[in-house]
Symmetry: C2
Subunit: 308 residues, 2 copies
């Protein structure tokens, strides 16, 4: 079993979907990643920053999931990062209504000493230079560094983003971001171009259409579980990434075959995340429920064909 | 092994894609379905109509693939159905530039006598009443009737379409058509509503995102093979349907487990169809190539996870 370092936001979200709306609730990339990774009973540490307004109960919630929160800085006089968004009827697109960076504006991540030898690093969506700083604090070369990012940084900090991309092993981005990053419509060609930028593994998330894993000529396709209803997509991508990184940390195996399983775990966990608002579903999720849904994934995708 | 009846257009297509354009070439739903089904060395018959302008070499091409063409009526003084279309850059949408119904306007399908006991019937996209007429000509109840249709008939002949849908076993439509037919965005809910209209099996084609097979609570998801380049999507959906129906006819097995395999064969054949203009790739396709690509599909989708 390996240690996992997670860097990303711990935040307040306010969400509006066709099914309802919330006040400020617990959110943030690192929160969702941590909750997903906690399913694997590994040593995981979140590196983040919150303000004095951040409720102790949220910190306790993470601690109670065995997540090390010593790397979450609390800026007493500051306010916690806040995001407010509204999903359209198709749930595939959303408008950001409010983004208040608050304490995130001056965030200097500090990886706890006892996690600087972690073998797996999960860089949640943040400024590329913040992500880079975490990599530089590691005392041993990690077995696997996984990067999440988004189009915002391609628009506003592309050169910095290239620097991070050069140093990581797995990039996890969505299809539109892969197209923007490479200027290629074909995801196969886009993945090849991203390989050339550095990452040996490219994960392209396609939302309700699943996710692709590329490693040069090897490709794996995990569908998303067809759901009757997507209640709230917030955090699904982070949950996917957290499931992926958590499974790799748990098994300590970075082979392509094992990454396939990590993708399936990520998809499985993400399928729960969208069932309720925010982190609600992930907070109560049991291993028994996960195992049952993994069986559904097998039924969904596995077939027997004898070749002649 | 079962006999297969195919009804649909045998036509001229003129196609423009970002990669080039063609003059009038061989096209039509029944043509693509037939070529796909011919991979299984079954007794298959096309029921269709062409004009006196239809080249003998195209008929020979079908005959040489062991497709029975005695059900293709030739109206000497008439002209063959013609479709001209232009694909947009993303290859997922297209404009129809010309549709000339010609001899199709008065098409009365006649199923050859020795095919009226066929166990599998594949109804390619046509007016619902034409499809219904084929069903009514069958002398024994077929084991499986598969229906393809499109939004055009939902807009213009919905009541007739409902009548056909009630009488068939498998409907194969794309995601937008499933949404239009049911008024439901969620494909899971849409499939359930379509079940209530009659079909026990619902296949929802999602283009580059693959296809879903629903049978009440059973779901199967076959991804499309990620391709470097889609040269010409024309006929891909028909090829998928032809592969599906052909495999069922070959095996005579209509269980859900076998339909999974049929879906994989359909996806595999469709992945070839898009590699060249029109029917070109399907004309030269060998079983060895198909088997090799099936192996790629297995690599793409199969994984081992032990549940606890």
């Amino acid at each position: 079993m390996s240690k996992l370092v997670i860097v990303g936001t711990v935040a307040f979200d306010a969400i509006e979907t066709p099914f309802g709306k919330t006040n400020k609730i617990l959110g943030g990339a690192a929160t969702f990643i941590g909750l997903a990774a906690s399913q694997f009973n590994i040593d995981a540490s979140i590196v983040s920053v919150v303000g004095g307004d951040f409720p102790q109960k949220y910190l306790d919630l993470l601690s109670n999931k065995n997540i090390d929160i010593s790397g979450i800085e609390i800026v007493k006089e500051g306010k916690t990062f806040f995001w407010k968004g509204k999903y359209h009827n198709d749930m595939n697109s959303r408008d950001t209504l409010v983004t208040e960076l608050n304490v995130l504006a001056d965030f200097n991540p500090v990886v706890p000493k006892n996690y600087r030898n972690a073998e797996v690093v999960m860089l949640g969506n943040l400024h590329p230079l913040t992500q880079l700083s975490v990599i530089e604090q590691m005392e041993c070369k990690p077995k696997l560094i996984v990067l999440d990012t988004m189009n915002f940084w391609m628009d506003n900090a592309l050169e910095d983003l290239y620097k991070v991309i050069k140093k990581i092993d797995v990039i996890a981005i969505n299809d539109e971001e892969a197209r923007q990053l490479t200027g290629e419509y074909s995801l196969v060609v886009a993945a090849r171009k991203i390989h050339e930028m550095g990452p040996k593994y490219v994960v392209i998330k396609k939302g309700e259409h699943g996710a692709l894993l590329f490693n040069n000529d090897n490709v794996f396709y995990a569908p998303a579980l067809p759901l009757e209803e997507v209640f709230d997509p917030t955090g699904a991508g982070d949950t996917f990434a957290g499931g992926f990184a958590g499974y790799i940390a748990k098994t300590g195996d970075t082979s392509f075959e094992n990454m396939k399983k990590a993708i399936i775990y990520g998809s499985t966990l993400a399928s729960f995340c969208v069932e309720k608002f925010g982190t609600e579903r992930m907070e109560s999720l049991s291993n028994k429920e996960v195992q049952k849904r993994l069986q559904q994934f097998k039924n969904l995708t596995q077939f027997e064909i004898e070749l002649t």
